[in-house]
Amino acid sequence: MVDGATAGLFLDAAGMKALGAAIAIAITGYASAIAEKDIGTAAIGAMAENEGLFGKGLILTVIPETIVIFGLVVALLINQ
């Protein structure tokens, strides 16, 4: 893996790959968290009014999770 020609500025190629994967996961995870925070707050507010909304609230809350799944796929592809 470590090859002078492919070495990056600070790290070798493997290191850059690992860093790239980490960034992909970290930022998408953070993005999901921000999105879910807002939706989750609203969903809990709605549930306080009507408990029957649990199912809908759960669904709406987990929708942004797809963002981090994409991040994960990208991270795995980088490490391929």
Partner: protein, 648 residues
């Protein structure tokens, strides 16, 4: 695929003289969902509740408040005859009410006494060290008595410098002081005392020596406490004695109150009544015969035709086998299907536990969770809990199946693994990993599947499972629309998606194979998009990328699974590390290792319900249901009561 139970709209008409019989019969069958009547210009009005309604609800309130006070919980029912309960109800209820109120009254009286004695004690305590009867503190003409506490010590010489006529009691420990002086010197002495931080205390009104008084109060206190305890014990024994009666009469009264208040929900004129509602079609004949029997054929019952546009409001009753029934809880959590929709309970009976199993896929955790679920199911009698536990058990069955496919047990690999770094032995000696064929991304497809070594293959497989799941959703949607709006709409709205998928598949095969199939695929794709645009308009075309998003979303199956493996693997590594540092003797580290092992896997077991459960659920709710499901059906809520503690 099952649909909700077929319903028939039934209307019962009769003279008011048979209203009571009709209501009793309907209530007993527990098959008729009453539509509430809304007053309109037809001239019909809702009726008044039966005469006994007020009395029944009064008793119901009383019995519930007693049940609440005694803390009565539902328990294994002792079935009683309901007319026997009704006969005894008044006398028993009054007796119970009277006993409880006298007992609670005396308890509160005694508690007040306790509080009194507490304050008396507080008054006496400062004087405890001064052995002087309180009667000596008062009733003097020429003497002044100072009784209280000081901040600093008082010497007898300080008083004697003012006057010789004094009597001093002082306790240097509690700094309590009682001083008798002649009235003439009182002012000067008071000044002196104030300089020492004198604080006057009230002298208890009762006579007697403090220490004796205290002893007698404490004796009385113990006595009163004992009496309160015994009263509370008596109330507790009332609870055991009357629990069956309270539960049974609550049930009987609830039934009476339901019946008595039904006239508020139906249409009546001067002399006639109309009850409008729904009954499962299969039970319609039974309903007719029951009502006819009860009223000697005086009531007129007929079924009405259900119009297309009325189907929105038909109450929905599931129509599933006993095995699938627990999944109805999962459906209700989201939303009950509409009457004209496919009820996907039997589909998620397979897909939900299957995806859960694919995510968890560990024999060890599956066995632990399965055992816990069975135990809880045994211990708890509630239907809702037992349904949930059944779902958990279904999930664990699939987890065991996938656990065998993955060869995993509590994060350990059961079979030996061949990696670039050599061969790692598995937990079961002699179980060798077999390489089946080359897979994508330069990975080898093996049995058992080592998930952490073939991530790309597993992502591909997960997405493939996802596509099957999504297409099942499209098929359901197709069937729903075909039934409701006709075949043409179904093909345009849902069929187009499948044609688009086919186009992409052909194009991909053509692209990688370098054949002309690519162009065929492209044409099919364009055709599909055009059909979609016709079916759903521009909104459908805008939705196109969501297909990719939905399919990729299934990558979470491997992603969440891997996280569980890594947690389990980390726990195992830590434990083995600890044991290996100290393998010569069984000492502290070995015990610590066992604790870490239990705690770590305990945590991961809990996570093994939450993470795979929520993600599997989300794949049903968002990805699968999004393709066809509307929901929002009304619950079929028959007029009646499921008796637990009484019988006719």
């Amino acid at each position: 695929m099952s649909r909700p139970k077929e319903m028939t709209r039934a209307v019962i008409v009769g003279h008011k003289s048979i209203l009571k019989e009709t209501i009793d019969a309907l209530h007993d069958t527990n098959l008729f969902h009453v539509e509430d009547f809304v007053e309109d210009e037809s001239g019909f009005k809702i009726s008044k509740p039966f005469k006994n309604a007020e009395e029944v609800s009064k008793k119901l309130v009383k019995i519930r408040s007693i049940a609440n006070y005694l803390g009565i919980e539902s328990k294994k029912p002792v079935v009683q005859k309901s007319d026997a309960v009704l006969r005894e109800l008044d006398s028993k209820l009054n007796e119970l009410d009277r006993t409880i109120s006298t007992k609670t009254e005396s308890i509160s009286q005694l508690e007040n006494e306790l509080k009194d004695m507490e304050s008396q004690k507080r008054e006496i305590l400062p004087y405890l060290s001064i052995d002087l009867d309180f009667d000596y503190y008062r009733g003097y003409e020429s003497l002044k008595v100072f009784a209280g506490t000081l901040k600093s010590n008082l010497e007898a010489s300080q008083i004697s410098s003012i006057t010789q006529a004094y009597e001093l009691y002082f306790d240097p420990q509690s700094k309590a002081v009682v001083l008798f002086v002649a009235k003439n010197d009182a002012d000067k002495v008071y000044e002196l005392l104030q300089g020492l931080g004198f604080k006057e205390l009230r002298v208890p009104e009762r006579g007697g020596v403090p220490s004796e008084l205290l002893r007698s109060i404490e004796q009385r206190e113990a006595d009163v406490t004992r009496r309160i305890e015994s009263l509370k014990g008596e109330i507790e024994s009332l609870k055991t004695r009357y629990a069956d009666f309270i539960l049974a009469s609550d049930e009987v009264l609830s039934i009476e109150s339901q019946k008595a208040e039904l006239p508020l929900r139906i249409a009546t004129s001067e002399n006639a009544f109309i009850i409008d509602g729904w009954t499962p079609t299969e039970d319609y004949d039974k309903l007719v015969s029951v009502v006819n029997n009860a009223t000697n054929g005086k009531a007129y019952i007929t079924s009405l035709e259900v119009h297309h546009e009325e189907e929105e409001n038909v109450p929905v009753e599931y129509n599933n086998s006993k095995v699938v029934a627990p999944l109805q809880q999962v459906m209700d959590l989201y939303s009950r299907p509409k009457y004209f929709e496919i009820d996907p309970s039997s589909a998620i009976f397979i897909t939900f536990p299957l995806i859960y199993g694919m995510i968890l896929g560990d024999i060890g955790y599956a066995l632990i969770l399965g055992t816990i679920a069975l135990a809880i199911k045994k211990a708890m009698k509630s239907d809702a809990v037992s349904d949930l536990m059944n779902i958990l058990i279904y999930c664990q069955i699939w987890s065991i199946i996938f656990g065998i496919i993955y060869g995993e047990f509590l994060g350990f690999s059961l079979a030996s693994a061949h990696t670039a770094h050599g061969i790692t032995a598995g937990l079961i000696p002699g179980w060798e990993t077999i390489t089946l064929f080359e897979s994508i991304g330069g990975e080898e497809f093996t049995f058992p599947i080592h998930r952490s070594h073939m991530v790309m293959t597993m992502i591909g497989l997960s997405v493939f499972v996802g596509l099957i799941h999504l297409n099942l959703g499209f098929l359901f949607g197709f069937s729903n629309i075909a039934r409701h709006h006709g075949m043409k709409h179904a093909i345009l709205e849902k069929g187009s998606w499948m044609i688009i998928e086919l186009g992409v598949l052909l194009a991909a095969v053509g692209y990688f194979g370098g054949s002309a199939l690519m162009y065929v695929g492209a044409i099919v794709l364009v055709l599909g998009v055009a059909m979609l645009a016709m079916g759903e308009g521009i909104a459908g075309v805008v939705e196109l990328p969501s297909l990719m998003g939905n399919a990729l979303s299934y990558a979470r199956i491997i992603a969440v699974g891997l996280s569980s493996i890594y947690i389990a693997g980390t726990v195992n590594d830590i434990v083995f590390g600890m044991i290996w540092t100290d393998h010569s003797k069984i000492g502290f580290t070995a015990i610590a290792a066992i604790i870490v092992f239990i705690l770590g896997h305990g945590l991961n077991t809990i996570l093994s319900i939450i993470a795979p459960g929520l993600h599997a659920l989300r794949l049903q709710y968002v990805e699968f249901f999004g393709k066809f499901y509307q929901g929002g059906g009304r619950k079929f809520n028959p007029f009646g009561y499921i008796r637990k503690y009484t019988e006719e």
